[in-house]
């Protein structure tokens, strides 16, 4: 298929995944902000959100101080912020529009309908309670689109490039959530194990749909090292880094007809560190250091995918 078409599908999926994850992050942050001790240090909590999902400097230039309401507005319906849910849905839809030949009409209609709904929304239309509904709705639309894709699309190159975008983006987002949340959640070692802390780790798990999974896997109280193990190394957990890389490696194999490409090599290298890695070792080198390296390699992988498959002219 055309490299440009593959590029559109790759980014279409990345943007949808990004919209979903931004909704997840905001949802969980709002929930956490309701806790008294978090509310106290509210600014740093919302700064963390900005670091995950936006551009802190650009934000400060435009809005000044960091408040829950402003950050939420900036990341949901802000027209100028290219990372807002509004902008990512639009970008996903524009990519789909350019590739209407490669996707099914059901996929197009669903994504187009999502855009038509989001297009004219304003912050006051969401209101205070409406925000939670909005986040749920965005997640639902993302699930719906994935389901339609799964159920209607021919399993060809176009399908695989779309899937590839989903997993590359998801790995990036989950790593960011872990990295930033970890610092906020562990202000000092003495806090660990408190009731509040437990709640916060629970909230983090919920933000990646991992709360129930945690209990099924560990049958035990929530502990930071297990949470990170679940989200980094567990290959049965669909949003873990390991799962994302499993899928990425297999997709790259199919897309390159199992011929060696630099993208496949890079993905294999990252995959090996997750497949054979131990959580104890990761903590010894430092979780933040591990995630920083992971994010850099994931970015390099994305660039190499564009290169190996001639995605950009």
């Amino acid at each position: 298929m055309l490299g440009r078409s593959a590029n559109h599908l790759y980014w279409m999926s990345r943007y949808i995944e990004r919209a979903e994850n931004t909704a997840r992050i905001l949802e969980i942050s709002q929930r956490m902000a309701l806790l008294p001790h978090v509310a106290k240090k509210g600014a740093s909590e919302w700064q963390a959100v900005l670091e995950i999902a936006g551009d802190v400097e650009e934000y400060k230039k435009r809005f000044g101080d960091i408040t829950a309401a402003k950050v939420t507005a900036y990341l949901t319906l802000d027209r100028e912020n290219p990372s807002s849910i509004w902008s990512t849905i639009r970008a996903a839809r524009e990519n789909a529009h350019a590739e209407r030949v490669s996707i099914t009409s059901e996929m197009w209609e669903s994504l187009n309908a999502t855009w038509l709904e989001v297009k004219d929304l304003t912050p006051d239309m969401l209101g205070k309670n409406g925000q939670r509904d909005f986040f749920d709705w965005i997640k639902e639309r993302s699930h719906l689109f994935r389901g339609i894709t799964f159920g209607t699309m021919l399993r060809d190159e176009a399908y695989n490039f779309g899937r590839l975008g989903t997993f590359v983006e998801r790995a990036d987002n989950v790593a960011r959530i872990l990295d930033v949340k970890y610092h906020v959640l562990l202000p000092s070692p003495t806090d660990v194990g408190g009731v509040i802390d437990n709640f916060q780790w629970g909230a983090l798990l919920r933000s990646v749909s991992g709360f129930r999974a945690y209990h099924r896997v560990y049958h035990d109280t929530i502990e930071p090292s297990r949470v990170t193990e679940l989200l980094i190394l567990n290959d049965s957990m669909p949003r873990s880094l390991h799962s994302c890389l499993d899928a990425t490696v297999s997709l790259l194999g199919m897309l390159s007809d199992d011929k060696p490409t630099e993208a496949a090599r890079l993905a294999g290298e990252v995959h090996a560190s997750l497949h054979y890695g131990k959580i104890g070792d990761i903590f010894r080198t430092g979780l933040h250091e591990f995630l920083t390296v992971f994010l850099a390699r994931n970015n390099a992988l994305s660039a190499e995918i564009q290169n190996s498959f001639h995605l950009a002219a």
């Binding site: 298929m1 055309l2 490299g3 440009r4 078409s5 593959a6 590029n7 559109h8 980014w11 990345r14 990004r18 670091e51 936006g54 551009d55 802190v56 650009e58 912020n81 290219p82 990372s83 902008s87 990512t88 639009r90 970008a91 524009e94 990519n95 529009h97 350019a98 209407r100 030949v101 009409s105 197009w108 209609e109 187009n112 190159e157 490039f161 990036d172 960011r176 897309l255 007809d257 994010l295 850099a296 970015n299 994305s302 564009q306 498959f309 001639h310 995605l311 950009a312 002219a313």
Partner: protein, 558 residues
């Protein structure tokens, strides 16, 4: 082009993500408004309409115009009264009073009986349903605005326009003949120029025409086919009177509406459909693909692509739709490159050779090395690959020379010269103001005529005589005299009307018709076409940018 998208965040920094916007994409030439303007004063009241309009020969003309009398007298404005009497597709010349069964032409009899049983509310419901279907399918065209472009629907009218098999035969034979002659003409002027040497068409009109492409001189195109896809705009003025208003020979659009209108109609009115024997149009894409593949340069399994200006072109929906129906890729200029005289497209598995390009990009933008240097839409080196015979372009480069308004008047002569036949379809009488006699006549009759610029489009630089003030006409006369060669004039034709569902119920509205002629190893005219309708009462402007809509067109099988 730079890569279309960049990751929004690299190491936590957000970056702008530009969509692959190409707002400089030119609207295809075809997007001109219909050349015949509205006649403001034409309010037809049943009392005023007696029967067929009197033969309106310009008898009062002081100087006899050069034009031969048309086959049938045009029911245009009678002397002094600018109220064209239009032929109605359903009731012939019965006038605009209530439609009684005895007025209805045989071809509409079943429809009229069915219509009588359907309440107006039902039509409104169907109209809404159709609109929903079109919107869901995304059959939209782009309208450019200051800040953003919006997607609009072309209004769809739920009442079909119906032709008999006999009427279709006239259109079919006439269009095929005309396109055959045009292809012969294009081959000739890019080779020996016999027609110019014989003095049948003034050489300077061809050779200094900006659409004449010297680059095509002496080049043999596969099968001698220049115009693979032609869209001819026809108007009807009587029972068997069809006139060609315009030949669209560059990148004609509209065929997707022919196909989708049919789909929607079959869905909306299955009962009405089964009561008629409507000839199918669905095989248009198959014919088109066959024609494109058949003219590939000596390859057994040619790769065919559709070259589009991109997602921001107003006709992008059609590009995607046709490519999808033919199972070929839609490419943009940036997806193609030329190496060693061959054209390749950039695929995920590396370069793949392209053999046939169905291009929806105008000549000027095809190759920045040969034409507009700043075009981002084209492929550098494409002309060289084309001249080397390594790729087929459909339509060929340089077909525009045969379809501008100054060349239009010569098409009947092309038919006689190349085919030795009389034209089966007439031109609308056209006065060429370069000609002294024509000019004298036109200047005396400005109040009855429409004057247009030869190379004009978009309705600019046009005088609608009957609707203009005396002062406007006087001013325009001065402009004509300053540069007569730049103008032509035509009578204000009474386009036929067709029953159309409008706010007040079903009423006659003016229509035109664009069938599409495919030429490959053989010629094909799929039985159907695009009927455009002026939804505004008495308006003769069928163009979608000015309130025009479309209808499904039925050809009944004999």
């Amino acid at each position: 082009m730079a890569s279309a998208f960049v990751p929004l965040r690299v190491n936590g920094k957000a970056r702008a993500a530009p969509a692959p916007v190409k707002k400089d994409a030119p609207v295809e030439r075809d997007a001109r408004p219909a050349p015949i303007p509205a006649v403001k004063a034409a309010k037809i009241k049943s009392a005023q309409v007696k029967a067929k309009a009197p033969a309106a020969k310009p008898a009062a003309a002081k100087a006899a115009p050069r034009i031969a009398a048309p086959k049938a007298a045009l029911p245009k404005a009678a002397a002094g009264v600018h109220k064209p009497v239009a032929f109605d597709e359903m009731t012939s010349f019965a006038g605009s009073g209530p439609v009684t069964p005895e007025k209805v032409r045989e071809v509409y009899r079943v429809f009229a009986e069915w219509q009588a049983t359907v309440p107006a509310k039902e039509f409104e419901r169907k109209r809404k349903e159709a609109e929903l279907l079109f919107r869901r399918l995304g059959i939209t065209f782009l309208v450019y605005g200051k800040e953003s472009s919006t997607e609009r629907l072309i209004p769809f009218d739920v009442i079909p326009r119906i032709f008999t098999a006999d009427e279709w035969q006239i259109i079919h034979d006439g269009c095929c003949q005309r396109v055959r002659a045009i292809n012969a003409f294009l081959h000739d002027i890019y080779h020996n120029q016999d027609i110019l040497q014989a003095g049948r068409i003034p050489a300077e009109e061809v050779l200094i025409n900006p659409q004449y492409r010297p680059e095509m001189q002496g080049l043999d195109v596969p099968g001698g086919v220049y115009v693979h896809i032609a869209g001819l705009d026809l108007v009807r003025t009587g029972e068997r009177d069809f006139y060609v208003l315009e030949d669209n020979l560059r990148t004609p659009s509209g065929v997707s509406y022919m196909l989708e209108n049919r789909n929607v109609m079959m869905r909306l009115f299955p009962d009405l459909f089964s009561a008629h024997k409507v000839a199918p149009v669905d095989n248009y894409p198959a014919h088109m693909l066959e024609s494109l593949r058949g003219l590939a340069p000596g390859v057994s399994n040619p790769t065919v692509v559709l070259l589009s200006p991109g997602a921001y072109n107003s006709a992008y929906f059609e590009h995607v739709f046709l490519a999808d129906q033919m199972g070929i890729d839609v490419v943009e200029g940036q997806d193609l490159f030329v190496k060693n005289g061959h054209v390749f497209m950039r695929t995920t598995k590396g370069p793949q050779q392209v053999d046939v390009i169905y291009r929806r990009v105008d000549d000027d933008f095809l190759d920045p090395l040969a034409f507009h240097r700043d075009s981002m839409l084209g492929v550098p080196g494409l002309l060289a690959a084309y001249r080397a015979g390594n790729v087929t372009l459909a339509n060929a480069i340089g077909t525009g020379v045969a379809d501008d308004k100054s060349m239009y008047v010569h098409v009947p002569e092309m038919v006689r010269f190349y085919l030795g036949e009389e034209p089966k379809l007439s031109n609308v009488p056209t006065y060429v103001l370069r000609d002294d006699k024509d000019r004298a006549y036109v200047l005396d009759n400005l109040d009855k005529l429409v004057v247009k610029e030869v190379h004009g489009s978009g309705g600019y630089g046009m005088l609608v005589g009957p609707a203009a003030t005396t002062k406007e006409r006087q001013d325009f006369a001065k402009r004509i005299l300053a540069n007569p060669g730049n103008y032509i004039a035509q009578p204000t034709l009474a386009l036929s009307t067709c029953p159309t569902f409008v706010a007040k119920g079903i009423a006659p509205r003016h229509v035109d018709f664009r069938p599409f002629v495919i030429t490959g190893k053989t010629q094909t005219l799929v039985p159907g076409g695009l009927t455009r309708v002026a939804l505004i009462k008495d308006s003769l402007v069928v163009n979608s940018s000015q309130g025009g809509g479309t209808k499904d067109t039925w050809i009944l099988e004999a």
